[in-house]
Each structure stands twice: as C-alpha cells, then as structure tokens.
Subunit: 336 residues, 4 copies
C-alpha cells in the first residue's frame, strides 16, 4: 500500500478546505476519497472538481474503511472532536490551526494523542514556506552562529469582519498564533511572554475588546529574544517578514513582491502593486509542501509538521500574550 | 458556440507542446480535442494526462470536424505546411516560433495568410510576460515620454547541444529572434540592423560557424535605438532583463529571483540561487496568458499575439543581423 | 553680529570633540575660538588644526568674552556643571548626550534651564540624519496617515571595553538613549515602557550586571507602539534602520551600504563589505547638520535640536527601561 | 624631498579646477603652490581659499622653480602645449581629458612624451571610482572567469548648452571618451568600433550635426564585446552603471542613490530623488583618489592613471566611433 496514493477525507470545504482539495488532487501521492461538509453543496462542488464522494456527515469518513488520512478544515470548535475521532480510528490527521480556543479542551485530549501513536499534525503552514524553511535550516546549520534575536513582522492586509473578530479568540489566538509557532520553529523553549496591544483603527476589535495592533516579546530559555510585530491591517498589502540575527550574521526573509517592474523618474524610483494579496497567494507553495510533509508523516516517516504538542504550545503562548497585554505584566510560561 | 470551450488540436508533444497541453487543460475556455505526434506514444501520454484523442497523423486533425483551433508545436521545418493546412481549413492557428528558417518559404505563404481572414498567431510568448507587457503598456501610455533607447539583455543558462546548433539556423534566428520580436513589440518600424558576433566558449557554435555571443543594435524609424545583448551561456542562470529609456523616465524589468532570503555577514550580503532555471519556469505565466490571448483572437476578438507578419519581420531582422555580423556591415531593412 | 561666524568654545577633544571641531571649521557660519581640555595637548592639537586658543581650563571660556556658543563634548559627569555655567553666562550650549546618568542631577538643573531663556541643545545627532529627518517630516506631513507602529533597529558593530561598560550607566542609558530620543522625535508622549534584556555574549556586560541584547516596547499616548531592537554587537556591521508604519503606508530607512558592486554567480548574488563601520561614518552628515541647526538656534531661530527637556525625557525612558528589564514589569511614565 | 608634500601648480580654475584645488589642499601629501588662470580673479579666489600664489600666466609656473607637479584643468585646446611645457621642464603633469580633439596634434607630441621619462597622466577619473576600480580588480583576479561582455551605461542628466556642443568635438570625443577609457581599462586591445548615433531631443546637437543618443559596440582582440549606451539627457538623473559578464559570473556597479528612504503604499514602493546630480557629486571620491595615484606616480611609483598613450587610444576610438556613426560602417582600429 505504500506506493498507492494516500486516500484523503477532507472535512470542511471553505476557503482553506478548497486549497487543500486542490493540493491533494495535484499531489501524485495523494487522492481525494471523501469530502465532508454539513453544507453538502459545498462538499459536492469540491468532489466534482477534485474527486471523491461527498457527504454531509463528517463521522461517515471515519468508518468508511477507504480513508488513509483525514484533513480537518472545518470550524475551530469542531477540531478537538474530529482529531479525537481520527485518533480513535487510527487514521493520521492533519488539522487546521488552532486545536481549539480553550486550552482545557486541548489538555483533555492531550494524553490520548500522546499515547495513541497516530500521527496528528497541525496546519501551521508557514513552516513549509520555502524562505522560512530555508532560514530555519541555515540557522540550524550554524550559518549565523548562535541565534540571539528573531524578529517577525506579520501584518494582514485588512481587518476581518466584526462577526469574525467576535469568535476569533482575539488577535493572539487567531493571528499571532502563526507567529508563535514560527518563533517556536526556531526557538522551541519559550519561558516568558510580554505583550502590548492597542486598538487603533478597527471598530470590530474595539467592539469586542480585542486589539488590532500588537507587539509581543518572547524570551527563550537560551536568553534569545523574539519580537513579533502584528497589525490587523496594512495599506501596503500582506506583510510577512522575518529576521534571524545571530552572533555571526543575519538571515532575512523579504516580503514577496509580485512585480519585476520599476519606474525611475526625476523624483522617484517606484515599483507598483508590490506585494502578495494575502495568505492564499503568499503561502501557496507552503500549503502544497505541508501536504507532502504530512503524507510522509502519515506513511510512517518524519516531518517538520507541527505536532499536537506544538499546537498546544502555540495556544499557551497566545493565552499568555492575552494575559500579558490585558494585565500589563510579563507572563512566565513553561514549555512542558 | 461562443461559450463552449475552444476545442484544440495540439501538434507536437515535445517539451513546449506539453506546456501548451497543460495550459489548454487548465484554461476554462479551452479543451484538448486532439493530440498529434508521429511519435504516437508521446501523443498518447499527453492525451491520457490532459485529454483528447491521440494520432500519429497531423493531417487528421484538419478534417476531424471537431477542431476549433490548432496549436503547432512540432519541428520548425513543418510550420509552414501546418499553418497553410490550418488556413486552408479555416481553423485559427497558434504556431511556435519561428515560421521557418528560410524567408523564401515564409514569403511563399504570405499572400495566402494575408487574404484568408483566418487568425494566424506566432508563439512569441514573451509579449505576454506580465512584466514586459506592463512596461509596453506603460510606455504606450506615455509614462516615460518618447521612447529613446530600449535595452534587452537575454542570456540562456547554457549552450544547446552541438546537434541542435547545427540545425538551429544560428543564434540570431534561433535565440535573438525572441528579442527581435520584443524590440518590434515596442518599436515596430526597424530600419537598420548592426550586429557583432563572437564565438568565445561554445565548441558547438565554433564547429558550425555560429556565434555564442552577440550584440545587436537596431535603429527604429523614429531614431530610437535598440540594443540587444545575448549570450548562449550564463553562469548566473537565465538572464532576462529589459530597460525602456524615455525622455521623461525609465522603466526596467529586473531578472526574476526565486529566493526571498538574504544572508548578511561581516563580508557580504548574499542571496542564494537567485534566478529562474530557464524559459519554462521564467515564462510559465506568459505561456498561459498567450493561450488566453489566442483564444480571444480565435473567437474573433483582438489580441497582442504576434501575427504572421510579425513572425516574418522578426525573421527578416534575424537574417539582417546574420548578414551584418558576417559581413561586418550595417544592413538596412524595410518594415514592409 | 548676525552675519559674523558664531565663535565656538569646544570643551572636550576626544573622538566626538574632534568631529565637532572639524564641522565648526568647515561651517561658514561658525568658527572655533577656544578649545578646552584638561589634557591640554589634545586641546592644542585640535586648535592647531581647526583654529582657536587652547586651554586646560573649561571655566576660562565662560569668562573670555569672545565666545558666542559652547559645545560640550567632555565626559558625561561634567555635563550638568558645564551646562549650568553656560546658562549662567548666557551662552547658548550644545551638549553631547546624555545630560547625566542620574536623573536627580538633571532635575536639580531643570528649573534654571527652563527659565533662563538661554538655548540649551542636546547632541542627539540622529535627528539630523537626512534619512531619519526626511521620514519624520513625511510622517508629520501625513504621507502614511496615522502613525501606528514605529520600529527602530539599532545595533553597534562590537561591544565596548568592559571598563567603558562599567561607567556607561547600562545599555539603556548609554546606547538605547539614542533610540528613545528618536522614538520621541516621532511620538513625544510616551506613557509606558516594557523592556526585555539578555546577556548573551559580552563578558563586560556580564561582569557589570548589564545587558548586551535588548528589546524595548513603548506605548505612546495615542496608542501607537514603538519597538526598539538593540544589540551591542553585529557581525554585519553597524545596523541602523527605522520603519514607520501608518494607516496609509509605510516609510522605511534602510541600513547604509558602502558598496555599489554586486557579484552574481551560479549560487548567489553577493555585495561585499556592505555597511558603514560605526556612527562617525554613518552619521557624518548628521553631525554637520546638527551644528547648522544649533547655530540657527543660538542666533534666536528655531530648530529640531533636542532640548534639555528632550534630554531629560530620554533619560526618564532609559531609567524606566532599566527598571522594567530588571524587575520584569512594565513601567508607566509621564511625559511631564 | 620624498616626505614633503608635492608642490602643485594648478592651471585653470573652472569647475573642475576648483575640485582639484580642494583635493590638493585636503591631501596631506600635496600642497598648492601656484594657481594660474588668464582670468586672474578666478586664480586669486582659488589661491585665497586653498593656498598658493595666483598668476594669469601659466608659463610662469614652469620656471618658478618651486613646482613639483602640474595639474592642467584649462580648456582642451591648451592641453597639448601645456603638457609639452611640463615635459620640457621635467615636471610630472596630470592633464584633464581629452589631450586634444585633433589626433594629429596628439601624434605630434607623442614621441617626445614617450622618450622624455616624465610622468604624464590623463584625468580619466572614473578609473579611480571605488566601485569601478573594485570591479576591474576582481575581474583581473579571475572572479568571473574570462571577461566576455562589458556593458557601460552612461547618461548625463541634461544636454550641455549649444555653445558647448559646438566646440565639444561631438558626443564621442566629449562624453563617450570616458567610456572608451573605461572599456580599455578592462580590455586594452580594441580592434573594431561600430557606432550608431541619433539626434532625438537636443536642438544644440541638431544645430551642430552632433548626436544626443549613441550606442557603441567595441570588439576586443580577445573576442569580448563591449557595449556603451549613452544619452545626453536623463530624466532620472546622472546614470552611471557597468556590468562585467564573464564565463563564471557577473559583476555589476549600480547607479548611486542618495536616499535610504522608501515609501510603501497600496500601489507602489517608491524611493525619492534617487540618484546623484552629476559627475562632481558622483565621482567626488574618484577625483581625490586620482590625485593620490598621481602623487604616487609623480614620486616615481606606479599607478592606474591613464597614460598619454591611453589618452591617445581613447581619442582614436572616439574618432573611429564618429566615422562609424557618420558613414554607417564598422571601423577597424589598431591598438598601436
């Protein structure tokens, strides 16, 4: 069976579910066997385009008998249940982030995942971005000596709708959580979190007591310091940069431009429409690479996929940042 | 019939034919009806993957009755015959460049194409590169005032095999011809060609009396001057740049980098593996955009596709450059 | 007297004193009348090269009768006394930063300076760097809308000698103080300081309980957030960058490269020896522009020079950062 | 005498003469002894500022007895006579380019210079630009393998007055001559010149039968090809770039920007006022370095200064380019 394509059940056919469906269809080692969504028309449209049988009942895929892997892209509140069902069924699962907004629900599932021996991966796709992955590998190879400062700039193009903000769990659990995972990709042992939040422009954030602007400082066990700079909007477009500063040099990831053209005039040099729209464009390769890595993991290999523990740690950091920003105190965290 | 996908016959299933097959399959307005190649296994493999019926006889597609458009990606020596068959059958045709290596064969077909009223497009795909197309549109819009100097740098990563060089028609007809079309995309009326060729590194070129290094200067009717700088190799990788210099400013197209990562150390700032491998990577979007433009043309619209006349003009410039470089004389050309 | 060059007394002829002497000599509106240093050979060498009379007694210049302005470049511990003497003598004074390491000494002088009506400027030269000054002016002109996030990266090339660290007052009062003044140049009303410090590489810092690595977050009254990232060393060379992020765009100051040359090979694009050595090179224009601004101020005009109050506010922020990093608590500050 | 500063006589106090005067005054190994100009007020103003005695008679300096070196910055028509006088007097001379506009006058002086043993240097200052000099040294060191293509882009900010054009000798002898010397700095043995000229925008050029736009192709004995792209104007500002393309890589000199600031908005990334005004700004370091090199040469050492023979060769190339552009024929040149 090792050579046959891995038969996926996709649960959830929203924007990100469709990305995964296309990647499964395009990956020679994967095939789409089931597509589940309570909005069954969505499931049918995806199945028609990318293959597989449609169902409105996610539970069906765990008992179908022809599923080698589950990809969970349904709403956050369903993640814990679906991961548990996959683990119980012995089927490797790749679940979109976060595991849950409530750490107690995550902790309740933790022991089972730890002992089951079933691969559980979290969809922190940025680990698979070629640029970030390259920098992490080169830092690990010692190219810049000891890592002393990691700076992550991550700004969304525009604030989400107020209704989304209301259920998002707040900027730290919803948006910064990607940056927490990236920080831990480089420096897994974070011991202290200091966060500053402001609400400067987004009425949705203001209405729900959330921040739209945040700076988070993390202290690693090694003494290295991580700085995360977030904004819910960016007039410039999606802004995704990283700088790893070490004792022997510095590795930087520039924001990705979509244009090779520049205009020079008497007053300026100008490049138009410079950056990617949003994460679906910016991280297209990352989603495909994440899928390949998960396939390898599901087949018994190793991968750089975020684990259940990584997902839990990112949520712990988000909770700590929320507490720090609200209570205006650094928060000590333990990596265990 | 305007809303149904255009049914393509693809003739030729080599490297570039496969690119076109994939683009036809991916384009919602196109579908692959026939795949022809005397090497019928190639035709079958493409048809299996991207759709359509396979045949070893190109002629079959012109009489099949279910073909709305022909895409010719077979060897250069077959182009004139296949364009003629398409025109006789009244089927729009997109033919890879060049029309032929022999201007007399091109001229023999010229009158029929001019009067038939059947769309004939040449595959000068670089016109559809987003960056080059943007610069041309902005020059046309007057952003840099009058166009005075156009500089095109075009270097292949490595010299082709000697066997290819032998039948290529020489560097000007094989490689520079893309740059001649690009020059005419900006400045259609070229009146004089001066070319300097050298043979510095490629034994294949030396064996066949060809150049591996060339600089061509074109004078446009307006007095504007075009400079084309070519090399058959580039240690740096595929090198494709353009600079339009005008009375009010300058528009530049940078070479396309594949990396966002830079390393800074005490001695240098360095970006690794910087450029695209070759034309299939660099011009992937251009091939897809060219197909979309041709579909519009085949449906009775207009397009920026190179016409048969454009293809003939590019060959005239290549012939003139060959004569200029060999006889060490500028060559006057007429655009008619 | 408005047209005659301003007659300067320079007190202190160390590295930075010599820079000021050269700028005074080169400025058509200034001339060097006195050079004072207890190490009188230093004073004589400067006077021989740039003009003026040498003395080993700073007090002499305040009574000489031919001094229009005093430039204090002597050790920090002498600043308060010399500023007071200048104010008492009614002579405008430009004093190197910081006013003092002890806020109580600063506060003791504060009322006199506030009421004396004698121009007192602090040598925060970076305000006069053409790039930083341009960004501040463009932010003030509304080019990026409301300023939401200001990010300052400031890294020295190498840690100072341990003996210097011992008397420096710590990284925040010695190094970050420039960044505090820069932060206040954009956002004068800072209300909260959070600092994280680490000691990662510098034995001098370790021996004296200082940090060599720091990240400081400032909250402005407007809710805007400033992030300052410091390191006492940088393998890359002197690293001085700034990013002003606003609701309508972003203004960035790149690190200054000293080379126009790049090498492209099969594996990399590389620029050698990229950055300025240290502040004397990087801020050469800034020192000259600062002098011009001070001359205008001394003549009764206005300037962007840091005032005594600005110097005090920067020290307050440094004290707050020291407390925050040591006690691991945010510190509320008042701008008054 | 080797340790005493070299005593210079400066002949000519126009724009470039003043640059040399300032550099002589600033160079510890040089001093200004005489300043000669028939417009004696100009000579006096320079002498007052930078030292030396003023005279309206250039001949005086050759007999004064206290002159170790002559710097000729007077009009081109005086160069041959003044070089001859310096050679006759046994005084090393650095003469601004070109030697003369008439090759017969140059040839008449050639034998005397060749046999006299007196250092004669031509003021092709760009050889001493740090970037160009670095690229040349790295090419010579083999960093890019065999040099195959050299591309020089050189555009002035604005066309000179018509009166200047009338006596300039034409674009090739006046402007391109710098590029010819730069070409020969890399590839001394040029064997063929092809030039294309256009007159597109400058009425002065049109009135005097000159070109304002030119492209010159040079073939070196090695087969390497040099391309020079010139314009008498540039909306962008002074445009000075070079690209050395070799079998193993490419070295590039970027145009020099004066700004570190960039603005990013929703539509563009923009850097303002990007380039140097003109040669006095762009090549300030080059003039100073040229002077240092000439001092070394005058003291019996070696230097990279252009020699009389280099100056003659550049003029031969300019003459060949003029003939080629006018007669529309490549011109074979001999390096002897």
């Amino acid at each position: 069976m090792t050579d046959a394509p891995l038969r996926f059940a996709l649960i959830g056919t929203g924007r990100i579910g469709q990305v995964h469906a296309a990647n499964i269809a395009a990956d020679a080692e994967a095939t789409l066997a089931w597509v589940a969504d309570p909005f069954v028309e969505g499931a049918r449209a995806v199945a028609d385009r990318f293959g597989g049988r449609a169902t409105d009942t996610a539970e069906e895929v765990f008992v179908a008998g022809d599923v080698d892997a589950v990809l969970v892209a349904s709403p956050t509140s369903t993640h814990v249940d679906l991961i548990e069902k996959a683990v119980d069924a012995g089927i490797p699962v790749l679940c979109e982030k976060p595991i849950d907004l409530d750490i107690t629900r995550v902790d309740a599932l933790r022991a089972k995942v730890a002992t089951a021996g079933v691969p559980v991966a979290l969809g922190f796709n940025r680990r698979f971005d070629p640029a970030f992955a390259e920098v992490r590998a080169r830092v690990a190879a010692g190219e810049i000596g000891a890592l002393e400062q990691l700076t992550i700039i991550s700004r969304d193009p525009a604030a989400p709708p107020a209704a989304y903000v209301a259920v998002s769990g707040g900027i730290f659990r919803d948006m910064t959580i990607h940056d927490f995972d990236m920080a831990r990709f480089f420096l897994p042992d974070i011991v202290e979190v200091s966060a500053v939040g402001s609400t400067l422009f987004d009425e949705g954030a203001r209405a729900h007591g959330d921040f739209d602007t945040a700076v988070v400082t993390l202290r690693a066990a090694s003494g290295a310091v991580v700085t995360i700079i977030n904004s819910r909007h960016s007039a410039v477009g999606y802004d995704q940069r990283l700088e790893a500063f070490g004792s022997a040099g510095m590795l930087q990831v520039a924001n990705r431009s979509t244009s090779l053209v520049s205009l020079s005039t008497a007053t300026a040099v100008e490049a138009r429409a410079p950056y990617e729209d949003f994460f679906l464009q910016r991280y297209a390769e990352a989603y495909a690479a994440e899928l390949r890595a998960f396939v390898a993991l599901a087949r018994g290999g190793t991968s750089d996929c975020s684990t259940f523990e990584d997902g839990r740690s990112a949520l712990l950091l988000a909770d700590a940042a929320q507490a720090s920003a609200t209570e205006r105190m650094p928060v000590v965290v333990t990596s265990a």
